[in-house]
């Protein structure tokens, strides 16, 4: 079973991801701070990381840079979660090393399609 690590301070985002991905056999684990998320990524090497740009105090972009600068986690695809009309955040996410982004809100099919594509490329699906 593939595992997605969600780094987001809102529990409701975790519930949405589980609703969309669990039926496809993708396990979702969640950390609510950038530091805890980066630590968990180093420990457990998830197949994909979904990272909120706006981490309520913690900077999601710094977390992205940290993940991409670490040899243990640099290979893990990082998908940024951004606001639908937040083009500036999207651009900053890519500049920080993100591999893709998903605008909120998202539909279950769109989210699964994007995550499945990254898992295929990473050889986890």
């Amino acid at each position: 079973m593939a595992t997605v690590l969600l780094i987001d301070d809102e529990a409701r985002v975790g519930a949405a991801l589980r609703f969309a991905l669990s039926p496809h056999g993708i396990d979702v684990v969640q950390e609510t701070s950038a530091a805890a998320g980066v630590a968990r990524a180093r420990e457990s090497a998830p197949d994909c990381i979904l990272l909120d740009v706006d981490l309520g105090g913690d900077d999601g972009l710094d977390a992205c840079r940290a993940l991409k600068a670490d040899a243990q986690t640099a290979h893990i695809p990082v998908v940024m979660l951004t606001g639908m009309v937040d083009a500036a955040s999207t651009a900053r996410g890519f500049e920080a090393g993100a591999d893709d982004y998903v605008p909120k809100p998202f539909t279950p099919r769109e989210l699964h399609a994007r995550i499945a594509a990254h898992l295929r490329r990473a050889g986890a699906a």
Binding site: A11, R12, V13, A15, A16, F19, A20, G83, M84, V85, D86, K104, P105, F106, T107, P108, R109, E110, L111, H112
Partner: protein, 163 residues
């Protein structure tokens, strides 16, 4: 095309997850930011602890003239005493004071039920609640109707009008 007989939980291209949400005590500025973050929803859902749905603030509930006055550089030099009183009142507005009862459906309801609830509430979005009653997502009226509405041809209309 997704038939309106489809359960909400299976409408995987129409159900928007992670809807725009504010807390009951959020002010007008937070409401405007929230609504701007998702132009499709045309509202901000109001949720309490644990994600329980409390209500909704549709865009129609926002006083746009007041917003113009609140925006720096947009007419603030034209503020009359009456407008100043309105401004002061507007700054005190919270989501709780502006919200209305929200159209809502469960994952097992059909899209047709969602359309019916939106019609009853005169709203363009319906909140989708999960099995625990927490706000999971929303459906947008016009997206649901886009596939369902059939435009009759003029000849068909003429035929229908015949006594």
């Amino acid at each position: 095309m997704t038939p309106l007989t489809t359960p909400v939980g299976e409408a995987d291209t129409l159900l928007h997850l992670v809807p725009p949400v504010v807390s009951p005590h959020d002010d007008l500025r937070a409401l405007v930011r929230c609504i701007a973050s998702d132009p499709v929803a045309r509202c901000a859902f109001v949720a309490g602890d644990g994600g329980a749905l409390l209500g909704v603030v549709p865009v129609d509930e926002i006083d746009r003239d007041l917003l113009m006055l609140l925006a720096p550089g947009l007419g603030s030099e034209l503020v009359t005493p009456r407008q100043a009183a309105r401004l002061a009142h507007g700054l005190d507005e919270t989501a709780q004071r502006l919200m209305r009862s929200a159209a809502s459906v469960r994952l097992g309801d059909t899209l047709a039920v969602a359309v019916q609830r939106m019609s009853e509430h005169h709203q363009e979005s319906a909140a989708v609640l999960d099995d625990s009653g927490a706000l999971l997502g929303y459906l947008a009226l016009f997206e649901l109707l886009a596939d369902a509405v059939v435009t009759p041809r003029p000849a068909e209309l003429r035929e229908a009008r015949r006594p």
